[in-house]
């Protein structure tokens, strides 16, 4: 076996190591992502819908409890609906209607904001005690 041949084999083996490493680095995050989507952020009993009006906490409602919440302030009227683990803004008298057109939110961290009426609806984890530090 000549020298060139040995170099070739060494190179090929090293390339295989590279390919294995790169595939691992792509597969592992993909697995983490899919696991996260499958189990992690499911709208469960631990998710809360937190409603903030004009910078102040208005209400905290569990996401798995179907309700309709009406908010009336001097800025305007908003109606928030929670159903099937999803929350959306069904009515707002604001001029741009961005919040009404926003699709329903179910995952932790999801937000619907009505800027003209200063209403913020966000889905948060009730067990996330770490969240309170950043607030």
């Amino acid at each position: 076996m000549d020298y060139e041949r040995i170099i070739y084999i060494v190179n090929r083996k090293r390339n295989i190591n590279d390919i294995i490493l790169i595939i691992m680095l792509i597969v592992l995050p993909l697995a983490a992502l899919s696991l996260n989507l499958a189990f992690g952020e499911k709208p469960g009993s631990d998710s809360l819908v937190v409603i903030t009006v004009m910078g102040e906490l208005y209400d905290k409602v569990p996401l798995n409890q179907d309700t309709v919440i009406e908010i009336e302030t001097e800025l305007g009227i908003n109606r928030i609906e929670i159903k099937d683990g999803q929350v959306w803004m069904s009515y707002a008298d604001c001029p741009d209607q961005l919040c009404v057109n926003h699709k329903a939110v179910s995952l932790t961290g999801g937000q619907i904001v009505c800027l003209p009426n200063q209403v913020v609806v966000s889905v948060e984890s009730s067990i996330g005690s770490l969240d309170s530090i950043s607030e």
């Binding site: 060494v10 090293r14 390339n15 190591n17 590279d18 490493l21 790169i22 680095l25 792509i26 592992l28 995050p29 993909l30 983490a32 992502l33 996260n36 992690g40 952020e41 932790t108 961290g109 984890s125 996330g128 770490l130 969240d131 530090i133 950043s134």
Partner: protein
Amino acid sequence: MTKKITTAGIFTAMAIGLAFFERLIPIDFGIPGIKLGLANIVTVTSLFILGPLYSIVIQIARVILSTLLFGSPAGLIYSLSGGLLSVAAMVLILKIPRPVFSIISISVVGAVFHNIGQILAASFVVMNLNLAFYLPVLMITGVITGLFVGFVSKYLVTGLDRSGAFRITDVNARKRL
């Protein structure tokens, strides 16, 4: 010695130039933190041509200077932790006694650890582990940009070595090209 220090200075300037060039390319994936990481070409190249110590110093200088020039000083902690973790991971892989992984893997691992370091620092600063949800996405994009940077560095280092301007004296590094 003098040549090495001069080269380190040129590399730092090149890294800042690349960082500026990268800012001119408007790539927006909608997720913060995704960058091509062109400056990483300099880190990988300096690791092979000048050795670990110089590449760590270049990395620190580059991060501090480009943050002061283009970024906000508040972002320094993210950039610095990402940059240092990245170069540390690359040095560790280079120091594996047998050449198991080539320059491509070194670059990919560097890019991935850059993102891991930034996420760690951000999680630490805002005390919110939810940021870790970003990590898988940033790891995958890190692999892609790391592959690009790795191939560029491979040809750059090989070219510099062949030109005779910078002979790669480290046998360990030479085996990884």
